[in-house]
Amino acid sequence: MQRTRRQPEPVSTPRSLSALEKVLLNDFQRDFPLCSEPFRVIAEQCAVSVEEVLATLQSLQERGLISRVGPVFAPRRAGASTLAALAVPPAELEAVAELVSSFNEVNHNYQREHEFNLWFVVTAPDPACVASVLEQIGQATGLPVLDLPLERSFYIDLGFPLWC
C-alpha cells in the first residue's frame, strides 16, 4: 500500500542534520536490502561511500536520534495486554502515576489532556494477570479503571514520514 502525502506541513527541518542524515532518517525506514552488503546498496542510492553510511548511522544512534537499524517485529500477540485509563483528581496525579508505573506489567504510562488523564498499557502472560493488575490499581487508588483491550488493528507499519 502506498501512502500519499496530502499537503506538506510548513515545518522546518532541523538545521543540525546533514543532507545525508536526513535522507537516511527518512527514506530507509523500510525495505532494508536483504543481500550480503545492504549498506552498499544504500550507499549507492545516496551516492556516498559505504563507510560514510555506516559512520553516519553510528553517529545517529550515538546521538539518540535512531534507536536501531533492523527489523521491527509485529506486536506480541501472545499473553495479554490492554490499554487502561484513570480519571485522576489533578492533585493526586503524580502519586497515582508513580503507583501505576511501579508495576512491571505497565510499560507505557502517559498523562493526557482529558478527564481521563492517565493512560497506561498493561502487558502480562495471560488475561488473569492483566485483570489482577487492573484490580490492584483500582483498589489502591479507589478509582474505576477504564479497560480498553485491542479488538482489531488497522495499522500497517510503513515507518514514520519525517518533515512532512
Binding site: R3, R6, Q7, E9, V11, P14, L24, Q29, R30, D31, F32, C35, S36, R40, L57, Q58, G64, L65, I66, S67, R68, V69, G70, P71, V72, F73, A74, R76, R77, A78, G79, L83, A85, E98, V100, V106, N107, H108, Y110, Q111, R112, E113, H114, F116, W119, P125, L146, L148, L150, E151, R152, S153, F154, Y155, I156, G159, F160, P161, L162, C164
Partner: protein
C-alpha cells in the same frame, strides 16, 4: 509459520538492531552458527509471514523534534469501523489505528488513532485535513494530547520465555 530455535535466536539477536558493519547478515550468521544466505532467506520468510513488519532505520520521534502526540478517539457507527479504520491507517501522520470497546456511559469511543507532529498546531492541522478529506465531520471525536510520559519502555523479545509465548501466538 512454525518458528524453530534458530528463528528464536535470530529474533533475540536482532531486536536491538543489526550490527552496523559492511556485511551485517554474515556477522549475525557467524554468531548464530548458520550460513549468511540461509539467514537472509529466513529473514525474507519472516517478513513474508508478517512477523517482521518492516526492516530499516527505526527513528526516535521525540529526539527528532516530533514531540506533539495526540490520541484521537472516535465514536464510529459499528458498520463503518472497518472502512474508517482503513482510511485513517493510510494517513501518513497516523502512527497507530486500533478498534477498542466502548465503555458506556463514560467512554463512547471505539476507534483510536495516534497522530505525531513537531508541534501541536501541526497535529491539529493534520487532523483537520483528515476530517475534511474523508468527510468525518459528523463522527464524534476527541483529541487527547499527551503532556507527560511517566514511563515508556518498548516491547522486548529478548528472553526465551517471551519468545516462546510470541511463537505460540503466531502459530495460533
Amino acid at each position: 509459520m512454525v518458528l524453530n530455535d534458530t528463528d528464536h535466536a535470530l529474533i533475540a539477536a536482532t531486536c536491538d538492531g543489526l550490527p552496523l558493519v559492511a556485511r551485517p547478515y554474515a556477522a549475525l550468521a557467524q554468531q548464530l552458527g548458520m550460513g549468511e544466505r540461509e539467514l537472509i532467506e529466513r529473514f525474507g520468510e519472516l517478513q513474508a509471514a508478517g512477523l517482521v513488519k518492516r526492516m530499516g532505520v527505526v527513528v526516535r520521534h521525540r529526539a527528532l523534534g516530533y514531540s506533539a502526540n495526540a490520541m484521537v478517539v472516535w465514536d464510529v457507527p459499528d458498520p463503518d469501523v472497518e472502512r474508517i479504520g482503513r482510511l485513517l491507517s493510510a494517513e501518513p501522520c497516523v502512527t497507530l489505528c486500533y478498534q477498542r470497546p466502548r465503555r458506556l456511559p463514560r467512554w463512547p469511543y471505539n476507534l483510536f488513532c495516534m497522530i505525531h507532529g513537531r508541534e501541536r498546531y501541526a497535529v491539529q492541522r493534520c487532523l483537520d485535513q483528515i476530517i475534511e478529506s474523508h468527510a468525518l465531520q459528523s463522527v464524534a471525536h476527541e483529541v487527547l494530547f499527551s503532556t507527560r510520559a511517566f514511563k515508556q519502555c518498548g516491547a522486548r523479545y529478548g528472553n526465551m520465555r517471551k519468545l516462546r509465548e510470541y511463537a505460540g501466538a503466531v502459530h495460533g
